[in-house]
Symmetry: C2
Subunit: 480 residues, 2 copies
Amino acid sequence: MRGKFDLDSVYSRIDKDLKKHIATTKRLLMQPSSSQEHIGIEDCADLVSDMYRNAGCDEVEIVEIQGNPIVYGECKGESDKTLLIYFMYDTMPYNEPGWKHPPMGAKIVDMKLPVGKVKALVNRGSYNTKGPMAAFLNSVEACTKSVGRPPLNLMFVAEGEEELGSPNLPIYVKKDKKRLSKADACYFPDFEQDGDGTVNLYLGVKGVVYFELESSGKNWGRGPRDFAVHSANKAWVDSPVWRLVHALKTMTSDDGNNVLIDGFYDDVAPPSAEDEEVMKAAAKNFDAQSTKDSINVDKFMIPDDDKEALIRLYTTASTLNIDGIWAGWIEKGSKTILPHKATCKMDIRVVPNQKKDDMMPLVRKHLDRLGYKDLKMTEIDTGYDWCRSSIKEPVVQAVLRSLRAFSGEPNVWPSSGGSVPFYVFNRILGMPFALGGIGYGDLAHSPNEFMVIEGNKKLAGLAEVEKFQVHFMKEYAHAR
Amino acid sequence: MRGKFDLDSVYSRIDKDLKKHIATTKRLLMQPSSSQEHIGIEDCADLVSDMYRNAGCDEVEIVEIQGNPIVYGECKGESDKTLLIYFMYDTMPYNEPGWKHPPMGAKIVDMKLPVGKVKALVNRGSYNTKGPMAAFLNSVEACTKSVGRPPLNLMFVAEGEEELGSPNLPIYVKKDKKRLSKADACYFPDFEQDGDGTVNLYLGVKGVVYFELESSGKNWGRGPRDFAVHSANKAWVDSPVWRLVHALKTMTSDDGNNVLIDGFYDDVAPPSAEDEEVMKAAAKNFDAQSTKDSINVDKFMIPDDDKEALIRLYTTASTLNIDGIWAGWIEKGSKTILPHKATCKMDIRVVPNQKKDDMMPLVRKHLDRLGYKDLKMTEIDTGYDWCRSSIKEPVVQAVLRSLRAFSGEPNVWPSSGGSVPFYVFNRILGMPFALGGIGYGDLAHSPNEFMVIEGNKKLAGLAEVEKFQVHFMKEYAHAR
């Protein structure tokens, strides 16, 4: 059955097996794998290893590490080139209110989108990113079952802690460096179509740091020490909640958008000449309204008509965000208490040439300088550094050619605003990388997360995504 | 059996029936009556009406009003004087973490206090204020069963919405004005001993206003509209959480202790000559350390040695407190989201001559002036106004004489820092009032709330509290 790689045979296999591929995708999605709550992790790792075998891997290993296991796999291909595929098999929690369909029910629903009707699969992780993962493994399986093997050697590294900040991935990568370094480049399959069908290609990702900040009477030596007291006492007792509010207010401008922490932006590098070129080109095609619709906002921070500035923000801004805050009585009604502590969760997005490990110390120094030494900072995840790939890298050029073949000229952006732990491959192993592809989904980290399973002229469904992946593998296999 | 009122007969009846009185007290406490959550309200009203009958009331009525019913009762006494007794039969919620004994288990435990061992009854409402209520009804029952009737006519008004801010009590009082106005004064039984045994007598209470303040993308027209989105979007999308933080920071000084809202303090009257006298005397006996111990703080806002200033704060300060705050992801771990809204609960304590109905408009005006028109304010309770009684009032003098008889010279304070809805009797019906008495408890609104049931030389147990109540009734019956 092995022979010269033939795209058409693989494509027709995908068409023939589509029902089965949808079932496989649903199965992966319906297997819980919430790393925050440690639900279903081991079962999901087992399922992924089964999927590797089905895809044609001759080597599969569940690598036990300090933390959720890595699922490693190898699949021989036609060319000598080796591509490392990064997957994350974990998801965000799925128990927040607001789901219109069960978050783990993998229900396929009719959806009317601005560019027409599609069938969408609603499930936590469908977009971020067990959907693209299932699609990629389906596409490899189609290669194996039609022409005997994929166009190039594949090395799969699936981690189960991406939503925890991938604390153990760098340790694993350093330990397994010899084996992993055989790869020529690495790739992260992802749905990157906009609602209008155009594709975004991000040449990098931001880093991220996540921590809790707590103001407490116990640490402060003022305010209630161990529990909330009657709020009549506010007359003569200090409030740890007001303290947190006043500490927070020193960190940003009044609009919450400029960080006022000394040194916060010091290491931010100006965009490179290539970045500037890329952003200028991207601005031509950027549809502000459709982006706002997809992220559920009425207005950006700056006017819509300055498209280049918007892209510059999303691509290059280092941010300080409050992910959550809580203190005292947060149920119905009016419990009159003076709380003994107040806590918030914050994330910092890290851009070139900031270093993730510098950011918490900068916040600490700022708080200390202003007399907030008692505020406790606790790192929740180890965080990621940023990483970047040049548009000239063969792996990026291969993605570009395949995107052009499937969906026309993509919007190329210097970086995503989000974070994936690609610095471990790019900056620890020194490997070029690419991410993305066709496909459409939305509402990552929100209720009603979905992926398009049956598309239309503008938006790719599962079959097209899989064909794109095969095309890309072939393009990179022959890239010089 | 009816005859000249005789204290000793009543006292010995109390001693004989103590076990039964403890059982009655436990029964009232173990009957849930959380008005915030509307748990057990109707059953508790029924139980209270039974207790009125047992105490000797010849008229008992569960008055259905808009809200939780009023339990009304009348009991004929020896003298022509009529005393209206205000009770609250509702409590704060009891499901917060931190209880060492079941919050509704009425467990009697050995407790080592700075002034010696006692037996304490741990239960929500034991101190605030179903414990004192049970004690008072026990004392009336002891009068009825020993000498046939109490020393004066009693009129009981028990409401079930005090912890909701008594929204319907003023409406009820206005409606039932004719009957209620027959009373010469009103009284609220309460445990007011400090940990060292001295008694505090408050000549008034502060008013209170309680509201929620919400910042939302929907109202603002900026930030996520209907749900939280991926925090990568902070790069170009505004944050309703930062907005709440920056709005809040404008309301107080950096230490959270001075309110910076225009006009907030404008109507605060300087203490009267009587207030000044009373505070000066109170400062002589004020034990800062024991007060701090009892309210779980290491340091007051100001140094301990300025006792008069501390008393002035607790007694006369109008405060703006954050009772609770919440937004976004408040569970374990690191969900990276930009929340679509942030909410806090606040209370304002109102002092002479502020008016409760002025306070929310002042906050609104402040927010509007600074451009925070989109922040939504919702009154949670209707609030109370403050009220005050002169130390010269016969009902206050009667309490004073009884306190001296049972526990020595009390600390008299112009006002409590807390709030009870006495303005309805004092300022709507124009009735003089007194509150307090011997007895010790603590941790109102906190886990492990308790009352002393078997005291020692310094702290009154249930029997002494009941005898004190009988003594006070007799004193007031004969007051000129």
